[in-house]
Symmetry: C2
Subunit: 247 residues, 2 copies
Amino acid sequence: MTSSHLHQTRCQTCSLSSLCLPLSLSLDDVEQFDTIVRRRAPLTRGETLYMQGEAFENVYAVRSGSLKQTIIDTDGEEQITSFYLPGELVGLDSIDSAVHPGFLTALERTTVCEIPFKRLESLSEHLPELRHQLYRCMSREIVDDRRLMRLLSSKSADERLASFFHNLSIRFDRCGHSAERFRLPMSRSDIGTYLGLAIETISRVLGRFQQQELLTIQGRHVEILDMAALKKHAGIIAPCCNERRRA
Amino acid sequence: MTSSHLHQTRCQTCSLSSLCLPLSLSLDDVEQFDTIVRRRAPLTRGETLYMQGEAFENVYAVRSGSLKQTIIDTDGEEQITSFYLPGELVGLDSIDSAVHPGFLTALERTTVCEIPFKRLESLSEHLPELRHQLYRCMSREIVDDRRLMRLLSSKSADERLASFFHNLSIRFDRCGHSAERFRLPMSRSDIGTYLGLAIETISRVLGRFQQQELLTIQGRHVEILDMAALKKHAGIIAPCCNERRRA
DNA sequence: CGACGGTTTGAGTTGCGTCAATTCGTGTGG
DNA sequence: CCACACGAATTGACGCAACTCAAACCGTCG
């Protein structure tokens, strides 16, 4: 039956476990961890995992697909603050206020693991590695946000987009896709909102990138032709943060 | 003698303890916590607490004064990613890579408490409240960074500065200063780098704010005359995040 | 008093946003 | 199966907010 099917998958056999919270846990510990994880039915494109203002109960690990976080400001403007790919942890920004600061929406068919935060917290009492991993995840999120801040505060449209694609490439690579060819899960408009650029600017810059033969892009299919040049265009280089992570 | 003087101050008697990590600890627990905290000699204006690339060992709680974090990008450009005021925790972004991502520099005479992270982590094993407080601090830092991202990605110079002053006002208020009158610890140039604006723009906008009688500013002395109007100018309103925090 | 950061003010330039029109792509219904 | 419709993406023309460069001003410290 369906519900048992949903519970079949386990951390022990998950291909993403080397990216996810169980990262540095022993087999025994992973087994303990696995018991508090709930598998959810897949979300379809556009479906929301939670709403802005909703009470915070769980964090989520992305298994497949992708999501975006959208925050609606007091002035009613919509902003995208982050995208989440497989192996990444969603909801860490909700701990402080115990309320979700934004909407979490699936960009495509997406499966996530639901992890009740209270139980995660208690479990972390006896698993120092898990605790450390949690601290690291949150710390990394801060570092990544700071990188985006620097991008937004002083970089040109070209640099922002080059950095964006370079960053995506690294993250797709890490979760088992190709670093050179991938399908964009988000629309141009999403990219624009995220990078603080008008959709028309996105379009123009991508046109330029194709002329310069940095990459090709048709619809949502991207192929990066000259990674080195893309990196150079980016200015702020993501790998300096990302290499270390793997260590 | 001096060194004993430095160790005199204790968390139990610190006026900031209600903002800081010991926030929700019992008296006994605060005492335990206090034993791992090291008081340092004050930093003078311009002195660095740590350098970019240095190994991460400690986090720091600001007791008095203020600091800025500066990151030098691969392209050599200098960016200020955050300011830290009394009661705030510094260094949480260094956990992931175990290396400080930027320089931490005192903006004025500043005292900090040094907290060895390894010992903090072990201590947190037996103090659930401390653990939770740490998670909250990190989560809050993410939320605050996201707010700045939204500011940078789509707000005008006026909105950025209004939001900046409003935010400062709240934070000064929280650590015991006046919300309406305070001394800016940072230069206009620092503000510009932080908000992604040219120093000339800062100057012009502040001129405009004075004409509109939102505030007066001479040198570094600020007086906010019309908090409500300032808030309205800000668009993104900080308090929505900050009110919750106190709950 | 003169020198030197830090700040303000002015004039000219430009990257990107806005508006508007066109094209492309995909799904729908006759 | 084609025609139509609708949203997503592109392209072009134009304006403006903020940047850059340059000069003047200010406070402070030797």
